[in-house]
Amino acid sequence: MAHPIEIILLRQWASYIAVPMWIQDEGGNMIYYNEAAAQLLGRRFDDSGEIHVSELATVFETTDLDGKPIPSEELPVAIALAQRRPAHLPVRFRAFDGPWREIEVTAVPVEGQEGRHLGALAAFWERV
């Protein structure tokens, strides 16, 4: 089953953008992140592949800036997916057992034609 055209074009666009971005489908599965995101995540998408929603919490650890764990439903991407609204949050995270980083995350829901809820796009960048 092919992804909806809105998601396909989003991936193609993100692949040319220098801002770190990732895309989750409507089920919460991580289906793409770009090269800029790979530099923060520590692994290229071609090497990691898609990550099922059930495995995301084991691959990515996320806390607030004080090191306190953040419930998964309060993460920006989860809010964009579940509540279909944009969300923003500064967080600490590490991926693939790499170093902890402080980043800002902004997530927006991806709404297609006819009100189809297709997933979420997250852009993030390191705090300076």
Binding site: M1, A2, H3, P4, I5, E6, I8, L9, R11, Q12, W13, S15, Y16, G112, Q113, E114, R116
Partner: protein, 273 residues
Amino acid sequence: MKIRLVGTRGSVARAGITTVRYGGDTSVVQVTAEGGRVVVLDAGSGLPRIQPDGDRIDILLSHLHFDHIQGLGFFKPLFDPDVETHIWGPVSTTMDLKQRLVRYLSPPLFPVRLRDLPNTHLHDVAPGTFSLGPFEVISDLVCHPGPTLGYRITENGRSFAYLPDHEPALGVRNFPPAPEWLSGADVARDVDVLLHDTQYTEDEYRERQGWGHSTLEHAVGFALTVGARRLVTFHHDPEHGDAQLDRRLEGAAASLRGDLKLIPGTADLALAI
């Protein structure tokens, strides 16, 4: 199911001695079921050449660019109260199909208003599946500027995919990508006959990326990826004459693999599936 290419040209009609074989009229394809039910794909300048003999006709619009709707105003059944005409077109986030078609079918662009057509019914089509008599129709949004649908029509297990304006290579670094990341793949997967945009040469495409069209090489790559059995070229550039189109096809034939057959999309080409 029978298919007839009534209008094959892309962008603008081009009549003349160089377009006799491949045709000068813009996009129109007639699909006829075994029992005679007719569905028409797009309403380009070739539309008036279709002569329906029933009391209902369905026109599926891929999108509303002018070369795909300009025949509507000259299609006699639209003015016949005894013929029920159904026009199907892609949904939009801003206006419904009626509001968008009125822009053409109203003065000053056309003297007759859409509301004056006696027995015409409009349908906004979202991605999904619906039935038209003996046909199952699958529609899906595909890569082309503005909401654009590709259609897959199936009757008795035989299938035909219609992707007249399609740029699946847009932004793809290594084309073709895996099928799940390929625009239009679900419409054309394992289809018996694929009619696909082949408007540009490779040189032209380099200058016109993002305009919504494909090269013959893209279409072949797409067809091979989705497992189509026959590929019919379509939406010929108005600047490309018969001789040039023949040469491009000869060049592309060498890149074919497997059982894929390449068929020149000439005017009035008829195929039985």
